[in-house]
Amino acid sequence: MYPKPIPPSHRTSRILYMTGVWAVLAIWLLPVAAIIMTSFRTFDDIMAGNYWGWPTKFNILENYAAIFQHTDMLVYFRNSLIITIPSVVLVLALSTMTGFVLSRHKFVGSTLLFAAFIAGNFMPYQVFMIPVRDLMVSLGLYDTYGALILFHVSFQLGFATLFMRNFIAALPGELFQAARAEGASPMQILRIIVVPLVRPALAALAILLFTFIWNDYFWAIVLTQTDAVKPVTAGLANLRGEWVSAWNVISAATLFVAIPPVLMFFLMQKHFVSGLTMGAVKG
């Protein structure tokens, strides 16, 4: 096991270590704290330059109400859900199938196909920006939910396939042989044997995908233009234009946008952590 735990007998080291941990945590959380505080401030407070201090007056209700009254955040929020949920569901369904085939069936070119799925992960996605935008324009999907769903599904599929393939490959091979000997078709094996056994992997993957897709900003601004289809991340950026320096409202909106992924993380923290390490271990 590395790093080695500090034994309780080393008192000084332990105290230093714990102090260090808290210090790092504080630095890490400081911007978040600042955003939370800012979302409580009045506009006047910000104009007066009170960015880090205690708010002179708490304006919580007004700031948060402003998100719904003066901005289109609700529309963006709905757009994000419309984009994220089908994308996650589609990626889960497709990657379970691709993972199953690539881990359990050998066919000519299977290794190459798998390599192609993985290789996609290593491409810096910025290089796709112009081709993908042009593609969506010629497909007539530019500035629609479809553009983002299609892109996210295909782009996340590489990682998701690797993840599911490794997980399914780690299941004992005799299980599949037993099911086959009992007359189960590949589709039945997938449905009755594989899906129930990979449920933990699917849960972990769902959270990862939800977070990735919900938090995407780059493709949101590349592939959408109108407010009617913009997801929250792009919508947030819009607020700056409309409310030049209303940082208190922007902060409030930011926190509002962060609710779903944070909520998901806390609800399924166990799966999230295992998801980060799961696919990587066995190959």
């Binding site: 005799e174 037993a178 000997a181 009992e182 007359g183 009755i192 129930p196």
Partner: protein
Amino acid sequence: MSNVTLKNVNKHYGPFHALKNIDLDIVPGEFVVMVGPSGCGKSTLLKTIAGLEEVTNGTINIAGRDVTREEPGDRGIAMVFQSYALYPHMTVRQNMGFGLRIMKRPPEEIEAAVQRAARILRIEELLEKKPAQLSGGQRQRVAIGRAITREPHVFLFDEPLSNLDAALRTQMRVELATLHKDLNATMIYVTHDQIEAMTMADRIVVLRAGVIEQVGTPLGLYHNPANRFVASFLGSPRMNFFEGIVSSIEDGAVVVNVDGLPPLAFANIREGHGLTQNATVAVGVRPEHLHLSGDHEIQAPAKIRLSEQLGRETVLYADAGALKTVGSDTGTSDVTLLAGEGGIPAEASTVTFGFDTNRAYLFGPDGQTLTTEKTIGA
């Protein structure tokens, strides 16, 4: 109850020839055990019968039907795996009924089949449990029960007892043999354990490097091995092999010179042995035929190096000077002897052991047995 017939079955994995011209006839109700060292192709052969591996060429008949190109599920087989391969997310009841559910049988029929199998294997009280809650022996019972519910033409076992501890293995061995009698089913069983093969089989199939070396009853193979490989594979402790040179051939009698022994005259040699003078041959004698007392044709002195006392018998490893064994269990050139309960010589003591040439086997340069068949039980 049905027969299984393999005709000229071949299996290639790329350049590797895993099964070579396998011909085998299994009669209804027979318990056939396939043995061989690891990598000999016994599991591959079982999987080709199951349909989990495709044959390169040749035909497989089960119950009079050509199933060579059929899916495993359509062949009327049921397989029991070494790792049991129980579906971890299903209860014992669901595991045992899985095959029938796939076949879309009515629920009452499935339940009846599960109950019947559970009764046979005495696992009725485990039906609601998940595999993880069961012990190794119980899991193996469930795996066998899963096979029984499908009422297959043939049961296939792939080293089913290898994951169990010694005590449980003996118990399951007896249970499987009993089950075979009760169900009167055709069973094919793969193992590397010669004791399982000897105790359970109606007939043993010995495989080496994808080739069937010999097929026969356990005692038939033990007493009349077709070649040196079969002779060395069956029997524990292993047969002693001594290398020798043919010194003369007269009227079917062959005289062999082995270093450290007086000349051995074999009268019981098969026709057409093809031996020539100065050919290198091997003489095989089972440890139980090397006697520490009495008058025997061939006698030699040896110094006891090590004794393994097993209670009923004692295995002795002895250094016989110029007389060296080849290919022994222990990797040494010591002679292996067996002593009964009485008269166990002390370690480091010198003994005289003897044997009769009619108890010995002569193996030709190609390893084939050249001595004529011995009467079993004589």
